[in-house]
Symmetry: C2
Subunit: 122 residues, 2 copies
């Protein structure tokens, strides 16, 4: 049994599942709606399994309505993952700052129109 965060991240570590979440972010959808874009590449049971992974990770909720299974996205699990990432924000902002600082040494700010011959001004 995996911890919750590992389960969330490993559910997100698949492009098919992320595409399903993207579709669900536009509104509820049945299994067959979600399956449609992938049926050339994989079978319906494969889709069922992907949805089960998302459901176990708490990323979606599946309900029943006659023979359909409307699914909807569930924000909480995503929030937990996002909160975990948040503690590292300083690292990507700092590396952005370094990139920005570097770019300033290569191309001076406000070099007039365009950047052609900009270095001449240094």
């Amino acid at each position: 049994m995996q911890d919750t965060l590992s389960q969330t991240f490993s559910a997100l570590a698949d492009p098919t599942r992320r595409a399903m979440l993207a579709k669900l972010s536009k509104g509820e959808a049945n299994v067959s709606d979600l399956a449609k874009p992938f049926l050339k590449e994989m079978s319906l049971p494969a889709i069922t399994k992907h949805l089960k992974v998302l459901e176990k990770a708490g990323l979606i909720t599946k309900t029943r309505s006659a023979q359909w299974r409307p699914c909807k996205i569930n924000g909480i699990a995503l929030k937990n993952a996002a909160d975990w990432m948040e503690q590292y924000r300083v690292f990507w902002e700092e590396s952005f700052d370094r990139l920005e600082a570097y770019l300033k040494t290569v191309v001076p700010r406000k070099p007039g129109k365009g950047t052609k011959n900009a270095r001449k001004k240094i």
Copy 2:
């Protein structure tokens, strides 16, 4: 070959690797520094493999200094994952709002000191 985002998320889907990132968020560390908390549970080659996963995902950078391999955290890959998550923020904020709204129906706002007997005021 996996896409970049899948590689990032699957690297994050392991508590040992997340703990290593947590350690690296306090500053650079060698392989053996990173290994120390885990050597009761797993061998050094297992650690090497975890670090390789993090490195391939671009989450850390490993350099060389004599026989040591100082590692440092690399913000960019984390930023890409965080940027992906950002598009779903509305879903977790909305579910937080629903929770908040619900709580207001159960416990009224400003119920005086403490919440004991608060419902009497409804």
